[in-house]
Amino acid sequence: MIKPSNITLLCVVFFISVFPVSLKSQDSSRSITLDHKPKLSGEVYNFSMRSTGEDYYLDGDWQRGDVLLVSDKKVRDKLIKYNTYLDELIWMSEESYKRVKVDKSLVKEFTIDLPDRAEPVVFKNIEMDKSSGSDKKSNYLEKLYKGDISLMAHRRVTIASERLVSSGGSLHSLPRLRSRPKFYIVKPGNQVYEVERFSRRALYRIFSDKRSEIRAAFRDERLRIRDENDLIRAVSLIDEIL
């Protein structure tokens, strides 16, 4: 017959053998090499705007992404989002939870994982001049197509209208935001041309020296340019011709 004291002893032996607790574990494995981890820098960011219509962040939530700096060093796996109204990259520090507007002049491009896209989306920091229709010094443009020529989109959000609303006994302006992307073609040598509208003629104007070949290709493919996808297809056709 098993006595209570035997049971106690068995339990003790069981605990000691089954639970080899290690409260002070040694870090016996460590990386052999060390990589330099570049850092993001920028202004602590407190922007917020009551608005209706489109969200002024591309896809609202924080997403994981990488940022390539002008030093060609990549900052990896950070929580970022793109403010389409300000055209700024926002980063959240996971240590302090501070939101930071990343110093734009130090960014070459960033890549962001968006839930509705199969591939990470790449935004490049492109210097614009007045001839390309922008009054900003540089813009983040989404890369839609990359070949010898590139098709980029400026995912800007602008104030379409404003109305006055009463809140807390005072009147406030409530803007209504609308997405109004602009499209650009970047030729070799970083020449940037705005695609003024969804039309074949807009492309003939940019590639005037190859007009007839392009026209023939569009005809063969029965391509009409009505939306962004048609534009991407058209640019890829033009790239093949060039």
Binding site: P4, I7, T8, L9, L10, C11, V12, F14, F15, I16, P20, V21, S22, L23, K24, S25, Q26, D27, S28, S29, R30, S31, I32, T33, L34, D35, H36, P38, K39, L40, S41, G42, E43, V44, N46, L69, V70, S71, D72, K73, S93, E95, S96, K98, V100, D103, K104, S105, L106
Partner: protein
């Protein structure tokens, strides 16, 4: 239930009483990658005022394709570092030159080479090699050859290969001298009790030799060494014992085993390499001679234990043997003539047509024979010594000094002396620390933060690094549990002063930052001296005059290497553009920083309170004052103390960058930044106590190339300028590809006599190449 609770309580108390239960397994590091370095120099004996040319090879056999990108080479006297050089490594090798200052005293120096990773292995894994440097102004240079001890101080070991001296059978016997008596090349006679010479031999350059003798049972035998009156008795002859005799002929290992007299029978032969049995043969119960022949290529290269035994008693006899597989990477070195005259063109052909390995990376040195020491390290000897050190757990350095200049035949004779070792395997496997990283990308700067009062390491301290510049640059690193930090530096930081500080936001107490000195070596100089001949002593005297002549003519036979300058990497900048930049020179002169802030930098206020200055800044985004004072950068270097900067006036300041935004750099928050850039490097006066002046000030030296003269046939006899070169040619980048030949031409000088053509290096399969060919200039 009650028993269950009792058991829990009991277990708890057991863990309290025996806390060892709670600590996990003993601290072993799985970062056991080993690296070694070998350095070839153009010669071994130099004059102060000449260049020492070298090529270094990185040796590692890890399967992770990881290897260091930098080697640290130091030239050291007994007491101090003379020169230190950081040498970038490409394809596991690198080269360079060290200038030997005119003022160096005559004596032995050592070259030490290591990588950052090798610091985990300990200093005894570093490469070390002695060189002799003579000062040309030394009229009586005190050059000591190996000390000549009294014969009575000498130890003599006589040991049979089989441990027994078996009657009637051929016994190989090792005779070895120790004690620095000038034993090499002395004759040895083996006498019987009637003083008849039955054998004679000669001690080799290392002071030992072997001979084979079949003794009679009743006889006594003695060894007599030339120059020593004493006779040394050989072991007593015995009828009983196990004979184990190993010979090698071409690629075949001949092993003879015999069990004689009352000795137990031999039933098996095993060959062991490390932890593995690589050959085993059951030979049945044998009492008579058994001959076993094994192809060397069928057993691993390296140190082997050849053992004979039986199933009852286990190992009965053992013999260590170094299996050096015949070098199939045959490289031939040919000259276009037998002899040459002064200033003749010398054509060399390096013939790799029979090479088995894909290529070989070599250095070529053509030097006066007397400038080469006979007993210095060789590449193949060094690799063998590493093998032996690992097998027996020897200090690598000591093994290199013992075995590093021994040929395989001599080594196998020496191994007769080694008795059965319990530890035979990969004994130097585990690294003693894992504090240091392998530098595969940029240079790594590491160090430690300790508390100033308690000297305890401080963990989680953020160490900030800046270098003085016209832009605010910043790197930071956090200390680990051992208080250690590491920075990977881009070439922007090379050859620059580095300033360190611990971020006040992470540590409250006063701390000390110590940066690791990569050229610090704790172990002291301990080298055997060269065995110098009379000709070498004479050559040294002559070389002093030769150098004087060369200096008078301005000859150094080197030229600067023109390397394509890579654009410097971008620094890690705090911001791209400051919000505002103010040039005090554009305003009325102001006498101090508080005046400057008040008059021309409006968001910035400096006030004196209770004898100390405090400052504040207005935020550009909100218009409100930051609750904390801004962070200051003086000439690009961070400082938190405005009081040290108060005296700066308009005349001293070039510009002030005001970046009054709440700013993040990585995980560091800055409540506004003020960058003050002075006209005359005021940081030197104000912040100099924080400077670290180590390693990177010497980083990545620009190499020089050897350049010998060329003579056109009609100008050959123009002796208006003498050509007294001791080094006729040096090239540290000779690559031979499989099946190809390479021709190299250079010119003889005016110094007649004997030279060595030394071709050294390693093949792509890790086989050392060591060819020494004589050359005569008549």
């Amino acid at each position: 239930m009650k028993e269950f609770i009792n058991a829990l309580v009991a277990t708890f108390f057991i863990y309290i009483i025996f806390p060892g239960c709670l600590v996990s397994q003993s601290q072993t590091f799985d970062n056991d990658l080993r690296e070694n370095v070998y350095v070839q120099t153009d010669r071994d004996i130099y004059m102060a005022g000449e260049y020492l040319h070298f090529k270094s090879h990185l040796l590692n056999d890890n399967d992770k394709d990881l290897s260091s990108s930098y080697i640290y080479l130091t030239l050291k006297s007994e007491n101090e570092i003379i020169s230190s050089v950081t040498v970038p490594v490409k394809d596991d090798n690198s080269g360079g030159s060290v200038y030997l200052y005119d003022t160096l005293s005559t004596g032995y120096y050592e070259i030490i080479a290591n990588t950052n990773w090798m610091k985990n292995q300990g200093e005894d894994s570093y490469f070390r090699k002695p060189v002799l440097i003579v000062n040309r102004f030394d009229e009586q240079p005190q050059i000591f050859s190996r000390e000549v001890a009294e014969p009575d101080d000498m130890q003599v070991y006589i040991k049979p290969e089989s441990q027994n001296f078996l009657k009637g059978h051929d016994n190989r016997v090792l005779i070895k001298t120790e004690g620095s008596f000038n034993a090499p090349s002395r004759d040895v006679w083996i006498l019987d009790q009637n003083n008849d010479t039955i054998k004679n031999t000669k001690l080799n350059a290392h002071g030992f030799s072997e001979f084979v003798i079949a003794p009679d049972s009743a006889a006594n035998y003695y060894a007599l060494i030339d120059g020593i009156d004493k006779q040394y008795k050989l072991p007593e002859t015995t009828n009983d014992g196990c004979l184990l005799k190993v010979d090698q002929e071409n690629n075949i290992l001949h092993i003879k085993i015999l069990s004689a007299g009352e000795s137990p029978p031999i039933e098996w032969l095993r060959i062991i390499n490390g932890d593995n049995v690589v050959y085993e043969k059951n030979i049945g119960e044998r009492y008579f001679t058994t001959d076993i022949n094994i192809n060397k290529n069928n057993i691993p290269k390296g140190l082997l234990s050849i053992e004979a035994g039986n199933h009852n008693e286990g190992r009965i006899n053992q013999r260590f043997w170094y299996n050096d597989i015949e070098d199939n990477s045959i490289i031939k070195l040919l000259t276009d003539q037998e002899n040459y005259g002064a200033r003749d063109k010398i054509g060399l052909t390096i013939d790799g047509s029979l090479m088995q390995d894909d290529n070989a990376s070599l250095s070529l040195s053509v030097v006066k024979k007397e400038s080469v020491a006979n007993n210095n390290l060789t590449f193949d000897g060094y690799i063998r010594s590493l093998n032996i050190a690992n097998a027996f757990g020897y200090n690598q350095q000591k093994a290199a000094s013992l075995f590093g200049n021994m040929k395989t035949d001599d080594l196998n004779s020496y191994l007769i002396k080694m008795e059965g070792k319990e530890t035979f395997g990969d004994n130097n496997k585990h690294n003693s620390s894992n504090d240091y990283y392998m530098e595969t990308a940029g240079l790594i700067l590491s160090g430690k933060v300790t508390d100033k009062k308690s000297s305890e390491p401080v963990s989680d301290a953020r160490v900030i690094l800046n270098t003085p510049d016209t832009i605010i640059n910043i790197l930071y690193s956090k200390t680990d549990d051992n208080g250690r930090f590491n920075f990977v530096l881009s070439d922007f930081y090379y050859d620059k002063e580095l300033y360190f500080i611990v971020d006040h936001g992470t540590v409250e107490s006063e701390t000390i930052i110590e940066v690791d000195d990569k050229f610090l070596h704790e172990s002291s100089y301990d080298h055997d001296r060269f065995v110098l001949s009379k000709e070498q002593f004479d050559f040294i005297k002559k070389s002093q005059d030769i150098l004087t002549v060369n200096r008078a003519y301005g000859f150094d036979y080197v030229s600067e290497t023109i390397t394509e300058k890579k654009p410097e990497s971008h620094p890690s900048v705090m911001f791209s553009n400051a919000r505002r930049v103010i040039y005090p020179g554009n305003f009325v002169p102001l006498d101090s920083l508080p005046e400057i802030s008040r008059e021309i930098v409006h968001p910035w206020r400096i006030r004196l309170r209770d004898g100390e200055y405090n400052s504040s800044l207005i935020c550009a985004s909100t218009g409100n004052r930051f609750p904390e004072p801004p962070v200051y950068f003086l000439d690009g270097i961070i400082t938190y103390d405005i009081n040290k900067l108060i005296h700066l006036d308009s005349k001293m300041i070039e510009k002030i960058q005001v970046h009054n935004y709440p700013w993040m750099y990585g995980e560091i928050y800055f409540p506004g930044i003020i960058g003050i850039f002075t006209k005359n490097n005021e940081y030197l006066n104000i912040l100099d106590h924080r400077k670290n002046t180590s390693m990177l000030k010497e980083s990545i030296s620009e190499p020089v190339e050897f350049e010998g003269p060329e003579y056109k046939e009609n100008k050959k006899n123009d002796y208006s300028k003498p050509d007294l070169r001791v080094v006729l040619h040096w090239d540290n980048d000779v690559t031979i590809n499989k099946g190809k030949t390479k021709n190299i031409n250079f010119f003889a000088g005016d110094l007649k006599g004997d030279y060595y053509i030394k071709l050294q290096g390693i093949t792509s399969e890790g086989k050392p190449v060591n060819i020494n060919k004589p050359l005569k200039i008549k």
